[in-house]
């Protein structure tokens, strides 16, 4: 299942995580929430992000 997880501390620090997206589609998938919350101060792509991107690219090349 595709999920967006928004965590907010009592001090108002906001973190947005995505789960279950393939490759870079997470960027588009969570855009509406991130725009509603404000601006992105920093972003980190996980290993999974790159692995999934590579897999997608590999699959495309084989087709």
């Amino acid at each position: 299942m595709k999920k967006i997880i928004v965590k907010v501390t009592k001090e108002g620090k906001v973190t947005v995580k995505t789960e279950g997206f393939s490759g870079s589609s997470c960027m588009e998938g969570s855009k509406f929430i991130e725009e509603a919350l404000g601006s992105t101060s920093s972003m980190e792509h996980t290993n999974e992000y790159y692995q999934e991107s590579e897999m997608t690219e590999d699959t495309c090349l084989k087709q």
């Binding site: 928004v6 907010v8 501390t9 108002g12 960027m27 969570s30 792509h45 996980t46």
Partner: protein, 141 residues
């Protein structure tokens, strides 16, 4: 998980701000054009961008905070929402809402995310951990 983003929160949605007030038991004062504060800026905190000392105390709406003497001003200029508040300790806002109004920011962030998700037709599941951190899981399928 594919990416993690840390956000600089901006108050942009009045409906979500009203819901945040409701969640915290704060009283939204529609159309109240002044808010209670020390009435004199002594330079102990920076003014919001584009604001002068003369602008303080005036607002578009106000928020009354039970347990605090001072109020929060909600000022709208050119569609931009600015919260005006005086955190001088005698006013009680910091004691009720935490440093820099953290609890109001937290409630707003959750409410605005929930509103946007529900408008898109997604389910939301909310939970709170022992540290008071709120997690909103938006289920997209």
């Amino acid at each position: 998980m594919s990416h993690v983003a840390i956000m600089d929160l901006e108050i942009k949605d009045l409906d979500a701000l009203k819901l945040a007030c409701e969640r915290l038991g704060l009283i939204w004062q529609e159309g109240k054009t002044s808010y209670v504060w020390y009435s004199r800026h002594v330079g102990d905190y920076p003014l919001p961008k584009g604001y002068t000392k003369a602008d303080l105390g005036k607002c578009t709406h106000a928020i009354t905070v039970p347990g605090a003497r001072y109020e929060i001003g909600v000022d709208i200029r050119n569609d931009q929402i600015t919260l005006l508040w005086d955190f001088y300790s005698a006013g009680g806002l910091q004691q009720v809402l935490g440093n820099n109004g953290g609890l109001l920011q937290q409630a707003y962030a959750i409410e605005v995310a929930k509103l946007k998700a529900m408008r898109e037709g997604y389910n939301c599941v909310e939970s709170v951990n022992a540290e008071g951190e709120i997690e909103l899981e938006i289920q997209m399928q």
